[in-house]
Symmetry: C2
Subunit: 199 residues, 2 copies
């Protein structure tokens, strides 16, 4: 495309680099920005720079924070003896939305994935082991996704934590609430049967 | 959501304001930005500010330009005696992609739409009439979209231009190239029949 003025083309290109945004969408977004007030455009640009500059990782749990300890690690109400290990900061948000969990987290920032050249050393696994070895952690809940990579990562970490005498658990598999047996895949049904409980 | 640090929340909100971007997509885009290098994040923010600041309207045709005349109005190769009237700068890009048209444009920046409180005075219609009245324009091609509002806008402008002795034409309606008769709607088929030509 060479039909738009250069600064507009550049903005379209920037939007087109974002995940899930194609050429047409990028154009629509760029035109939307042109239609913003100067103030709103500045707020947008500032939000990008500000998020990039001031969001860092919590020194304890590696969750995202605006500086210092994250709000969960800093809270005296949370149980530091239980650590829920997740792959991503978004998973922390998902767990928090459920309003059920009162412990702390550890964010791995990915899963072990040889296909994508991500090994254990690329993840926050060492910091987890250190954390478990030092403080009085009683339970580590592996809450990586129930897919091949998430599973492998959970198994790997569970093995690493064996020497520390902590309880290592895994989130339950089963039929999702509101789901239908009819539409459940074989693997899920098998796990649901395996994990059946007394009523 | 209050599970992300404030600067990240703000960025998610900014993305969620964009057209067609829902909450989940906004989150994904914001996390993508966090993953960018400082340099790339700055380039993105700069592109927003730069496009907003330096893109203006061509004083002749109201197409978007990075300052001064737009590239089409400035080109000596383009026929200034023919004006193609479009609703939006994106329509100029669409026409240019067809590589068929060698005249100039006039961008209305919208169509008459009483439902959305857009009247003739909110559009670049006055500037078009002025342009036709002054210079030696021979033909005005109405290329607004073939929907109710585009149609009404084309008719309105055609009537305004009556006194100036210029030829006012409308883009042809018909079956799109590669289309199927079977799937064409009644109105399109009717127009295609009306507009039939000798072979």
């Amino acid at each position: 495309m060479e039909y738009f003025p250069a600064p507009l083309e550049k903005l379209v290109e920037q939007f087109a680099k974002l995940p899930g945004i194609g050429g047409k969408s990028a154009q629509r977004l760029a035109f939307h920005v042109l239609g913003l007030s100067d103030q709103d455009a500045k707020a947008f640009a500032d939000a990008i720079l500000d998020a990039k500059q001031s969001v860092t990782c919590c020194p304890v749990c590696r969750n995202l924070t605006a500086g210092g300890l994250c709000s969960i690690c800093a809270s005296p109400k949370r149980d530091a003896a239980t650590i829920c290990v997740v792959a991503d900061a978004r998973d922390v948000a998902a767990m928090e939305r459920a309003r059920e969990y009162g412990g702390s987290y550890h964010v791995l920032h990915g899963v072990i994935s040889p296909m994508n050249h991500v090994g254990p050393d690329d993840l926050e696994i060492k910091s987890l082991v250190e954390r478990v070895s030092k403080s009085g952690v009683q339970e580590v809940i592996m809450a990586t996704n129930p897919d091949t990579e998430g599973e492998a990562t959970a198994m790997y970490i569970a093995r690493l934590l064996k020497p520390f005498q902590v309880r290592v658990t895994r989130l339950a598999y089963g039929i999702p609430v509101g789901g239908h047996l009819e539409f459940a895949d074989d693997a899920t049904l098998m796990r649901a049967l395996e994990g059946r409980r007394e009523l």
